[in-house]
């Protein structure tokens, strides 16, 4: 589904990503973790071309992301993305947030788009908030809407960029529950997150990054029980201590 081969990226002299290589199979849930500044957010933003990269190759569903001829908009419409700060469109009601791209990108009609929107709001338990505006919802609710908005496009895979980092602690679980549900249904997911509980429950594989390199790429059992690199062991010791 997603295949990365020796992806490197730099801003000027600063190397952000170095030779990142990994594969994501259909139905896999990959958790990407690592200390801040390790390039994990940049890595998943490369997957749908929001961040350009200078060398290497990323193939998503048979399409090369970096190739100049690639229609990036079309590619992105098939890859759902959820952001740390939700990034709902504040001037639109919740249901319009879910419909707008269906109407303008997929060419669905108003009726289909709203029906799909309501169905997804039901699924994340926010049907009764449909006519409200993003600013009137809590962070947890906004993030669930953001997930529903991405799902409305019927994506072939989902990217999560620290979806719970901007949330108050008591709202983290409502978002993780939605993500867990999604994983159980077989959605292919790549999640940048510090939620190690989620990783242990749901992940198929864990990728650990440090200083722009993929240091570990292993099954979650292998990662949590005997991480090979010293850096990952330190990281885990700090995180799991809590």
């Amino acid at each position: 589904m997603i295949s990365m081969n020796k992806v490197s990226k730099h801003y000027g002299a600063f190397q952000v990503l170095t030779d990142c290589t990994t594969q994501v199979q259909k139905g896999e849930v990959i958790v990407v973790c690592g200390p801040s500044g390790s390039g994990k957010s940049t890595l998943i933003k490369c997957v749908n071309g929001l961040e350009p990269f200078q060398s290497g190759e990323i193939i998503v569903n048979g399409v090369s992301v970096g190739a100049p001829a690639t229609n990036l908009s079309k590619l992105r419409s098939t890859v759902g993305m959820v952001f740390q700060n939700f990034e709902l469109f504040p001037h639109m009601s919740i249901i319009d947030n879910l419909s707008i791209a269906q109407l303008k990108v997929l060419g669905r009609n108003q009726e289909q788009a709203r029906e799909k929107g309501y169905k997804l709001l039901d699924r994340v338990g926010l049907r009764e908030q449909a006519e409200k505006y993003p600013g009137q919802l809590s962070g947890g609710q906004q993030q669930r809407v953001a997930i529903a908005r991405a799902l409305a496009m019927d994506p072939i895979c989902m990217l999560f960029d620290e979806p719970t980092s901007a949330l108050d602690p008591e709202m983290v679980n409502e978002v993780l529950d939605v993500m867990t549900e999604l994983a159980k249904e077989g959605m292919t997911m790549m999640c940048v997150t510090h939620e190690m509980g989620f990783a242990k429950r749901v992940a198929s594989r864990v990728i650990f990054m440090d200083q722009g390199r993929i240091v570990e790429d292993d099954s979650k059992e292998a990662f949590f029980e005997h991480a090979r690199s010293e850096r990952a062991q330190q990281f885990l010791a700090k995180i799991l201590h809590h």
């Binding site: 933003k45 749908n48 929001l50 990036l72 908009s73 079309k74 992105r76 419409s77 098939t78 890859v79 759902g80 993305m81 952001f83 740390q84 700060n85 990034e87 709902l88 469109f89 504040p90 001037h91 707008i100 791209a101 303008k104 990108v105 997929l106 409200k132 505006y133 993003p134 600013g135 009137q136 919802l137 908005r149 991405a150 496009m153």
Partner: protein
Amino acid sequence: MGYSWNWGIFLQPTATGDGTYLGWMFYGFKVTIALSLSAWFIALVLGAVVGILRTVPNKWLSGFATAYVEVFRNIPLLVQLFLWYFVMPELLPENLGNAFKQSNPIVQQFLSSMVCLALFTSARVAEQVRSGINSLPPGQKNAGLAMGFTLSQTYRYVLLPMAVRLIVPPLTSEFLNIFKNSAVCSTIGLLELAAQGRQLVDYTAQPYESFIAVTLAYLLINVVVMFGMRWVEEHVRVPGYIGGK
């Protein structure tokens, strides 16, 4: 102080026999409004385009837009007016320049003034538009793109609707400015409100009444603009957002 007030002058017939002095004032009032509104409309359209161009990821387009803004923002309004009125007709292709110079002088003055005010104000509007777009969270653009919108769709559906709402208050002051700046156009002979005030002084020797009337007329225009823009501001407010209900 020996000044003899005479508010009756406004109803007196003019020395040239074309109606009353109040009629002169009203004519100037109409010119000021027609000039300012037409220039404002052009300034909004041009300013929006230039402001957007300043934010696009293309150095030629954004460079052009930056140059435009700096040129029109940094030359004094009066100098720009003289350039448009006295110099520009000479630089036009000969037949066009001649057509302009042979047209009704009022049309010449009005067109030069309109273009001058429009371009000067468009540079300022462009700066507001740019700052509106740049003040949005950077993730909004990514969110739009990630949904599969093209860059222009992202501007149209995601960035501009919010940016426009954010800049209503600073645009209000630009809108007020254009009416006030229009007084400069009296220097090329356009008989707008301020010019009529001065003319009234020459003809009636009642400067206080004349300029009080002019002042009130400008105040009236700006009060209407302020309330109009406040109405706009309230009607585009986003529920739950900063400043929203």
